[in-house]
Symmetry: C2
Subunit: 380 residues, 2 copies
């Protein structure tokens, strides 16, 4: 029972222990482990046995120290309690696993300090690069950064004017998506359309947050269709949880009982909105339409099933990992920006003819879910 010199704890088996047992050099064992071709078959066999016998497994730390690469990447998102981020995290984990990488997960829990820590490279180096979805961090903090301290890919909507050197950015064109969502409502005849989701918090308004971008798309669509935007129809919320949707709808409906549609900043908000409308006795979609954003797993099971913008999370994850990998492998060009596709998913919550047809397949993103004998339409 060998002890670690510094800690006094049991030391896990190392190459040395295998080598001793197999009667070969440490390097030979290393060669076997790494499938180096020039090893005699008989030796390889002996070593393999010894490995099993002592239960050897390579120490990632030593490999990283020696090779300079850890095959680990850090993913920093606000909080897994948002279904959008837990879905997204799952995509990253799967995609990384496919590439032989391991994901270290950091949650900034929406705290500005936590985000700054991420941006400044944490307090220690762990992993080869970072994928970071900021929410709150101020633009000026970005601006001050001349360059990143390790390969970094930003995701999300918090676009700074100028990315730090050494970083890339993968986004979804939020304004365009919100434009499409709003256009869909306009084309189905809605005219009094509210927007729920501008963030006005104790922290002050976020100029580049997804809320503002989506609102811009909403406004643009109205203008394009000759509908005068009304600032009173843009409802601020404290946060983007279901709960905020509920109270937001409360405010909105009290002030504007004549609304015939609400564009929501995300699905969680929309689900809260639906809950309030149900309470008011407003029928969705007959009296009022509701559309969300994110296509969370809840959306098809909301009552009624929720129309929404469905970002291609898989493409987002894959693209971000591609860019990050290039950075890790030494690419040192200027910051790149990649746009990722999205689609408009129309379900019952915006479909006036609902209940008559609409065989919508809920798009399940769960990896193990069967391909769905599925749920056609759900009554409200």
């Amino acid at each position: 029972m060998p002890l670690h010199p510094a800690s006094g704890r049991k030391r896990p088996p190392a190459l040395r222990d295998v080598a001793e047992l197999a009667g070969v050099s440490i390097k030979t064992v290393s060669n076997v482990v790494n499938d180096y071709p020039h090893v005699k078959d008989s030796t390889r066999e002996t070593v393999r046995e010894a490995i099993l016998q002592v239960g050897y497994r390579p120490q990632a730390a030593a490999q990283q120290l020696r090779t300079g690469a850890s095959k680990m990447i850090t993913l920093a998102v606000p909080a897994l309690t948002f279904s959008y981020f837990s879905d997204l995290a799952q995509q990253f984990i799967d995609e990384a696993q496919r590439r032989g990488q391991t994901v270290v997960l950091h949650s900034t829990s929406g705290g500005r300090e936590a985000e700054r820590t991420v941006l400044e490279g944490f307090n220690r180096v762990v992993g080869d690069g970072v994928i970071f979805n900021p929410l709150l961090i101020e633009e000026e903090v970005f601006a001050r950064m001349e360059q990143t301290t390790q390969p970094t890919v930003f995701i999300g909507e918090h676009l700074p004017e100028k990315l730090p050197h050494g970083s890339d950015y993968v986004r979804i064109d939020n304004a365009a998506a919100a434009f499409d969502a709003t256009t869909h409502l306009l084309e189905s005849g809605r005219r009094r359309i509210a927007f729920l989701g501008a963030i006005a918090t104790k922290h002050g308004l976020q100029p580049h947050s997804s809320g503002s971008l989506r609102r811009d798309g909403y406004v643009a669509a109205l203008e394009e269709h000759g509908v005068e935007p009304d600032a009173g129809l843009v409802q601020a919320v404290d946060d983007w949880h279901r709960h905020d949707g509920f109270t937001g709808a409360q405010d909105l409906m009290a002030r504007h009982p004549d609304l015939d549609a609400i564009v929501c900043g995300n699905d969680d908000l929309a689900i809260g909105v639906l809950a309030h409308l149900r309470r008011l006795g407003r029928r969705v979609p007959q009296d009022i339409a509701v559309i969300g954003y994110d296509d969370t797993p809840d959306a098809p099971f909301a009552s009624p099933p929720l129309s929404t913008i469905s970002p291609d999370k898989h493409a987002l994850a894959a693209t971000a990992l591609d860019l990050l990998t290039e950075r890790i492998q030494g690419f040192d060009g200027p910051p790149r920006i990649a746009d990722t596709p999205y689609s408009l998913v129309i379900r019952e919550s915006t479909d006036r003819a609902a209940g008559d047809h609409a065989p919508t397949t809920p798009s399940s993103t769960a990896p193990t879910a069967p391909t769905a004998p599925c749920l056609e339409e759900l009554p409200r």
Copy 2:
């Protein structure tokens, strides 16, 4: 621009670089970084400046190699697309962050192979210990394991007869919780109570899965109240997603239109069930009661708000980390089993008098959610 000898990539600043700039020894810099007390104030200052100037950050890998500890722990769960697991993961991340630890997240995505990989210690050592929530792994695989290859804490319900040496187990008494849930229904006068959630898949039935334990509690409660359990009222499902709840309810209601309550294996299933009942025009809770398990963030926003078993996820995470930390610090006693509390949360879906009172506060688990000016009751 120093290159890494083995990879040819840029080498991040190390203690050496700081030492050179500050004109002191490497060890002195190390002492400053680690707040060793016997350092002259002036020296400390010089070194601090040099650290900032070169942008030094400690390399976790080298620390781990030297000290034998990485301050990282691995969390392996089936999939973050289940709200239960994303909530739980968030709890672990927060709690670990509070203890200065970082979480490496593995997703087994329900695959048996992936789970076996976790159990066998992955292919390389990363982090100081593992928290593992198995779903599918066979009991015999556990039984064969004499001892774990690194400190391990199991969570979840898949209790093997005998834990491997070096591991602990934190669980929630599933049978008791399901017993309580069922008793609640019985006491409010329900008699034709079905159970949805036994897993019967291509993989075969899972003897120790949470589904079976919960079913056992359900059966026990019926017996205790003199209600004859009816095997026909136990409905198997392929998986535990909302979708499966929908189709499961379909089967169940077709065969037993007279049901007056359904106990669901988890909240996602229950939400699917609610969707189907709405479609059938059954009123919940007047005609039929539905109760879930997990208290996911959706539950209070379901229509109607869902009664459920609320496991104390925070206690679960904290306990698991406590036990794991003890193992990491050298505790080598026999396997321990810890039970974690749960509570029965009664919302509208099981409350016959619903709509009249019931000022239920949705228990939001989101870290940033305000303490709720809240949603009283929601109409169905």
